[in-house]
């Protein structure tokens, strides 16, 4: 149907106006990433969280230097009987029975005489190492499998979906519990190898049981994107599948990926501590979870022993969570502020 004369006239009028607007206000094409970062910049919670996370990252990276600056060392460096009171097993210096001392700012652990500041610093290092490596591994795995499942039709999609469901239904704690003694008996002959084996296996276990969530998310997104015109167009002009997946689809999936990554980090920090608490995590290097196990019975007399790792975990997890939330809000096109 043709436009009525008046309306056509108005339409023309509008068209005439367009160049004027273009002259006064230049519209830049802004990527979703850029929009998100601009939003984040104005989000105070996100900024504070980012600073906190950065603090922990610096602590982790520079743990040896910081402990050197405080003059403390990780592990048992002095005979416990020289630094502990044999009747109480608490330190002869520092809390809980003596005043603050710069020699051991957080006191020393009963029974072993380890310096708790050094344990805390190195514990932060372990937590963040595990969290970041696991999150990266889980994300990469989730992206690849999600893209494959979403873009391939038919049997491949069905098989991948089945595998995803299979992993989702596998009891994670049970798997971890049963794997720990196997590792210990396989690698137990050599403490150094055991440490590496435990570290690698912890990361493998955690990432093997956490890629599915992202994979599902991505599969869903891909299912809706793959019928869109730009993908159709790319297919029509014969762009290879790999290129479609990584150059056309992936940039559109950056939001869920960043969000899932950032929300995964705190979960892995907590999981690492939880597994250490169950005695199936890392045993050959300091971790916050282990300090918590050791400190639990001493809480009434020596609360700082427990508070230090607990607050460490809590602050780090809250900061990572808030940052993740802010990222999600920033990337979500539906939120308007």
């Amino acid at each position: 149907m043709a436009l009525p004369p008046i309306e056509a006239d108005e339409a023309l009028h509008h068209v005439d106006e367009v160049p004027e607007v273009a002259e006064t206000k230049v519209i830049h094409g802004r990527s979703p990433l850029r929009i998100a970062f601009e939003r984040l910049r104005h989000d105070k919670v996100a900024l504070v969280s980012a600073v906190v996370v950065l603090f922990f990252i610096l602590v982790a990276v520079f743990a040896p230097l910081i402990s050197k600056a405080f003059g403390v060392e990780e592990g048992i460096v002095e005979n416990p009987s020289d630094v502990l009171d044999p009747t109480t097993s608490y330190g002869l210096e520092g809390p809980p029975f003596h005043g603050f001392t710069w020699d051991h700012p957080l006191g020393i652990a009963p029974s072993t005489g380890k310096d708790l500041l050094a344990e805390w610093l190195y514990g932060a290092r372990t937590s963040l190492e595990v969290a970041f490596i696991t999150a990266i591994a889980a994300t990469v795995l989730g992206i690849v499998i999600g893209l494959l499942a979403g873009f391939s039709r038919g049997w491949l999609d069905r098989i991948i979906s089945f595998v995803i469901d299979l992993f989702l239904s596998f009891p994670f704690i049970l798997g971890a519990l049963s794997l720990a003694p196997i590792l210990i008996n396989r690698w137990g002959q050599d403490a150094e190898k055991l440490d590496q084996a435990q570290f690698v296996s912890l990361i493998l276990i955690l990432s093997f049981f956490s890629w599915m969530y992202l994979a599902r998310l991505i599969r869903g997104e891909v299912l809706s994107l793959r019928e869109r015109e730009f993908i159709q167009a790319a297919r029509v002009i014969g762009v290879p599948t790999r290129r479609i997946l990584f150059r056309e689809l992936l940039p559109n999936l950056i939001a869920p990926i960043v969000v899932s990554f950032s929300l995964g980090l705190p979960a892995f920090v907590a999981a690492e501590a939880g597994l250490a608490y169950l005695g199936i995590g890392l045993t050959e290097r300091p971790t916050w979870g282990q300090t918590i196990v050791d400190a639990q019975p001493h809480f009434e007399i020596f609360p700082l022993f427990l508070w230090a790792p607990l607050i460490g975990i809590m602050v780090l997890v809250i900061a990572l969570n808030l940052l993740g939330d802010s990222l999600r809000d920033a990337f979500d096109p539906k939120t308007r502020r």
Partner: protein
């Protein structure tokens, strides 16, 4: 005797152990000059004690005692009860035996007195026959009278290593038709060999005569074990059923029983105090709850509110709770000796030079390892330099110290020097630890430091708590030394030297094997008790001075706690548990 604490299996790591003598001390012992040397109570015998048991001054009747423990309760079948907790609960409260131990407040220790028998047994000259006379008028909880034949049934059951693999093996080892010279069983027990008989118990009127294949001077101690309590033949067809409700002859009988988790004992109306020289029945009921959380149960008893006032635990207080209890209620802590000693056992097949073993004794970080293992130094772990502990016949007097370090001094310089003399500097030292047990890991860290400082090359081998004892017992496990504890079965030398030093014995983790020593042990076993005791002391000193097959790394102790209305709880130093039979509640 087997130690109940599962980690005690890990030996010098996380166990209870022996300690300060009787009651609480005055608290102000925080200076490092403290004397860690603790006197042990001796064990006397008194064959002339007559029933009924003397009343305890001021004791009141009635009330229910709650018992909490973090440990499970293994089988309560008398023939198999060989853990300290099962044995102690059964013999003190439920199953009477021919002889029994009682706490004597005058000597602040335990003594052996008659129980179902009228005396402590009459041995023949070479201790190959023991005769006990059964008292009249003793009845089971169902009203039937205890017959001398019931001891035959019980003895034959105590032979059955297939039905009762965890039971004590003394019947097999000493009685007629037990193990032959090569250790093969001649008679395999009542259930495994239903048509056979050990022909080792003879009944004549009320006289019961046990016949041995080899001299057994400690038979009157073996007679205190629940395995030697009377069991009626017609009630014991199904051992699994009987384990759920062993017939009581003592002051209390089973009411409700959930294996491993809970046990309620109520008064046994058929128990007649006029037949029992040493048991009391003050308390109405015992409610025992097992597998409780250690830290929580300590708190309950320390807080002492409501029912907690009539609650006790036989677990050692956790170290931080011990500190708290010491401040708040020192009079409710019961400290004392327990029957265990701890050793480092160098594998004598791999570490052949006694000089190296001496170097290990100087390198071992005694107090550091105790602290790292969560022990209360001076209470649950204290220094020891000898093998046979205090209060046991055969203890070497005057004390000797073969390594010269007082059982607590570490000197890496000296150890290194000894290693250099032996030409073994840098020798690898592999040892087990349980990587899923934090104290075990801490002890490992302490040990690695100490061995390294002394010039060894420590190589810790990780395992799990579940696998630990199996691997330690396996002679082919690739490790160079083992740690562990040994607890007495009875306070005589033959509960220590043969299991520790005879070839292929079950507590010989050094794999020490010396024909001369084996021969001397066999000779001493054939001597009359007094001479044997003396000869055993000599033998112990000779073994330690010549061969140094083990390194004593401390003796155990107990630090238990009870509610404010519980009275009469002392340490039974034979079991390292409470004197159950003397406990009463103030109303």
């Amino acid at each position: 005797m087997k130690w109940k604490k599962p980690m005690a299996a890990i030996g010098a790591l996380a166990l209870l152990a022996a300690g300060a003598c009787g009651g609480s001390d005055d608290g102000s012992d925080t200076d490092s000059e403290r004397d860690l040397d603790i006197e042990g109570a001796g064990l006397a015998q008194d064959p002339n004690v007559e029933p009924p048991a003397a009343e305890i001054e001021g004791a009141q009747s009635g009330g229910t005692v709650t018992v909490l423990s973090a440990l499970g309760l293994n089988t309560m079948h008398p023939s198999e009860a060989y853990y300290t907790n099962t044995g102690s609960i059964l013999t003190n409260l439920v199953t009477r035996t021919l002889t029994q131990y009682r706490y004597n407040p005058e000597i602040e220790g335990m003594e052996l007195v008659p129980d179902l028998a009228t005396d402590l047994g009459r041995p023949n000259e070479d201790f190959t026959e023991w005769t006990f006379t059964l008292r009249d008028g003793v009845r089971y909880e169902d009203g039937t009278e205890v017959q001398p034949e019931d001891f035959v049934t019980a003895t034959e059951m105590s032979f059955d290593r297939t039905q009762f693999p965890d039971g004590a093996e003394y019947s097999n080892e000493y009685f007629l038709n037990g193990y032959d010279e090569k250790g093969n069983p001649l008679y395999e027990g009542r259930y495994t060999d239903p048509n056979g008989s050990c022909e080792c118990v003879e009944v004549n009127g009320n006289d019961i005569t046990f016949k041995m294949a080899r001299p057994f001077p400690s038979m009157n101690y073996w007679a205190t074990f629940p395995a030697m309590s009377p069991i009626p033949a017609d009630k014991s067809q199904d051992p699994d059923q009987y384990a759920l409700h062993p017939l009581s002859t003592g002051p209390y009988m089973f009411d409700e029983y959930e294996p491993e988790t809970s046990l309620t004992l109520v008064k046994n109306p058929e128990w007649d105090p006029n037949t029992d020289p040493a048991r009391h029945q003050y308390v109405d009921q015992w409610n025992m709850e097992f597998l409780e959380d250690s830290s929580a149960l300590d708190q309950v008893i320390i807080e002492d509110q409501g029912d907690a006032q009539t609650t006790l635990t036989y677990d050692n207080l956790l170290l931080p709770d011990y500190q708290k209890a010491k401040q708040e209620a020192p009079d409710r802590i019961v400290e004392g000796q327990d029957p265990c000693q701890f050793y480092v056992y160098p594998d004598t097949r791999k570490i052949t030079d006694p000089k190296v073993r001496e170097a290990m004794a100087w390198a071992y970080p005694y107090e550091d390892a105790w602290l790292a293992g969560g022990e209360i130094v001076g209470v649950t772990r204290s220094p020891e330099t000898q093998i046979i502990p205090r209060g046991v016949d055969g203890r070497v007097e005057p004390p000797y110290d073969v390594y010269g370090n007082g059982g607590r001094e570490t000197d890496p310089e000296r150890a290194r020097q000894l290693l250099e003399e032996a030409g073994k500097v840098g020798m690898p030292l592999r040892f087990l630890y349980a990587s899923d047990d934090p104290p075990s890991v801490d002890v490992k860290d302490v040990l690695v430091r100490a061995w390294r400082e002394a010039g060894f090359d420590p190589k810790p081998v990780a395992t799990t708590v579940a696998e630990f004892s199996t691997l330690r017992a396996d002679p082919n496990t690739p490790i160079d030394y083992r740690t562990g504890g040994w607890c007495l079965d009875w306070p005589a030398w033959d509960s220590w030297l043969p299991p520790l030093f005879q070839t292929d014995q079950y507590a010989n983790y050094s794999f020490f094997s010396n024909k001369q020593v084996d021969q001397r042990i066999r000779e001493i076993q054939n001597l009359p008790p007094e001479e044997a005791t003396e000869a055993a002391s000599e033998l112990e000193q000779d073994i330690m001075e010549q061969y140094k097959p083990v390194i004593p790394v401390g003796k155990g102790g107990v630090a238990m706690m009870h509610g404010s209305r519980i009275n009469g709880m002392e340490v039974d130093s034979v079991y390292g548990l409470p004197t159950w039979r003397d406990i009463w509640i103030s109303q």
